[in-house]
Subunit: 333 residues, 2 copies
Amino acid sequence: MPLENVTIIDTTLREGEQFARADFSSDAKLELAHALSEFGITFLEVTSPAASPRSRDDAARIAGANLPVTVAAHIRCHRDDVDIALDSGVGALNMVMAISPILRRASHGQAIPEVVRTAAEIGEYVRKRAPDVILRFSSEDAFRCPLNDLLNVYLPLSELKLFDRLGIADTTGAATPDRVSEVVGLVSRLTGTPVEFHGHNDIGCAIANAHAAAMAGAGYINTTVLGIGERNGITSLEGLIAVLYAADPETTRSRFDLPTLPALCHRVAALAGVEVPFNDVLVGETAFSHKAGLHTKAVYNDPRAYEALDPADFGLDRQISIGHRLTGWNAIR
Amino acid sequence: MPLENVTIIDTTLREGEQFARADFSSDAKLELAHALSEFGITFLEVTSPAASPRSRDDAARIAGANLPVTVAAHIRCHRDDVDIALDSGVGALNMVMAISPILRRASHGQAIPEVVRTAAEIGEYVRKRAPDVILRFSSEDAFRCPLNDLLNVYLPLSELKLFDRLGIADTTGAATPDRVSEVVGLVSRLTGTPVEFHGHNDIGCAIANAHAAAMAGAGYINTTVLGIGERNGITSLEGLIAVLYAADPETTRSRFDLPTLPALCHRVAALAGVEVPFNDVLVGETAFSHKAGLHTKAVYNDPRAYEALDPADFGLDRQISIGHRLTGWNAIR
Ligand SMILES: O=C(O)CCC(=O)C(=O)O
Ligand SMILES: O=C(O)CCC(=O)C(=O)O
Ligand SMILES: [Cu+2]
Ligand SMILES: [Cu+2]
């Protein structure tokens, strides 16, 4: 099962910082890095140290905190960004370049062959300055990019052996699992390079897309706590954990300290100034509430009747409604 | 594209009523039926008229409201339920029986051959009493049921030509799109009968599962406004609409009165006593907020750069952050 070996790259400290309401202090970021690490996350992405002096200081502080995690700086394909990021002490660089026609025009203005040249040049520069840093190249907006263009970027770049991973981003969050499976599968097979998937949630498919990517061969998945990020965000950490748990509870319990997850979600909600959605996976207020009589009766006898996930594994309780019209019915038949 | 022809069966008035916090008054139900119909929903499911006298009165009131919708009563495979439902004046019966080993044990206790016998007997009873009523048979918990059992139910029942649709329910919300596609595709092809999909959201895949079901041949998809239902709910109406819109904006605009959707979502939130999740598809507070400089700059020039959905089509606005550290960066480069 490919899900067992998936590595979560949590980007609450980068994509999450791009959430409209988020404005994490340095202390808050360090606190979240600790909590994510305690939960079992081994790879954290942080905002580009080149974005502002505070971003640089925050990256350096997290990279220097001696946590058992790899800290990746999310950077553009610019020498300056590389220099500032490497100076901050991070162990990995997550480079990104726009690749769809519309975003190439809106950002760097380069044609596909130039994108390849730029990525190769910066990749070589990184390898000269820091041979051992973990280096990723990712294409922003990969799903609005013709497949030809995508392969014209990934195939030559993978042959250079400069990059440890290739990222594929659904930047506008409009991909569906069938397409994710196709694109990730193709890039993964043809390049032989580990793939990282990053998926937005604009049409509500981000969790399922992460699952599809992993099943198609992506070894790395981006998440944020509560899914916070640009617009309505990306794959949520708790959502991906639920997917992994549904497929294999035992492995998931052994890889992650599941009972610490609810507090982490509530903490991020408080820091970002939002309520945990009532219907959030695992930690939503009603995630383990049973109401209709047929349900409450069955759950009372055996909770697995209407539960895919055991709340106790996450340090949570179930609620069984009593006394509602709908509860009374069936429950007494 | 199979998505064009998908019929939404909205079950806010049945599954939505099973949401822990929901307790809709009769007037509220009628109001929602009107609003759903105005939005473009043509098929509504209501709580079994056999559940309580109030459920019966409410079903009769909605069925008698002369809305351009088919009203389906959600009922168990019991003669009493059929009688009470038909007497209430609904135009369709959505019958359901548990089919997985665990739920068969917890509810009716019947083995697979008995399930078939019961469904056939009640189906024949319905056809005798009401030859023209639209009749569906659905199996609760289809995804925890061995495929053999599933086919041993659907194949003989489809041959009886008693049922207009066959329902497939992911009752514990743990299915992923690849499995939904397989099961729905198989049942749809082998029975030649229209399939209805009902998917819970426990691992966050309900919207993508609805997409997978439709692509695999399901002509009918269950939704509720905000996805409210047992536990953390099912496929949300606004989520499915976003999926349809992303695939084909023009057809979706012509089928549904999209600008009425946000008010409908907010109304259901108020009636159910919850906040609209900040990250809800389409109607979440930040669904069209852009923050990072690279994003705000690009969106300012051409919103499609970072938007899969045009908020104006839904009567919504975008927000472009200004003055944040992350906004300043890149925006000024
Ligand atoms: O670096 C990446 O792969 C993703 C960048 C990003 O946030 C996006 O494209 O949505
Ligand atoms: O009638 C159906 O198909 C679905 C019943 C239900 O709500 C479920 O199984 O989750
Ligand atoms: Cu992103
Ligand atoms: Cu349900």
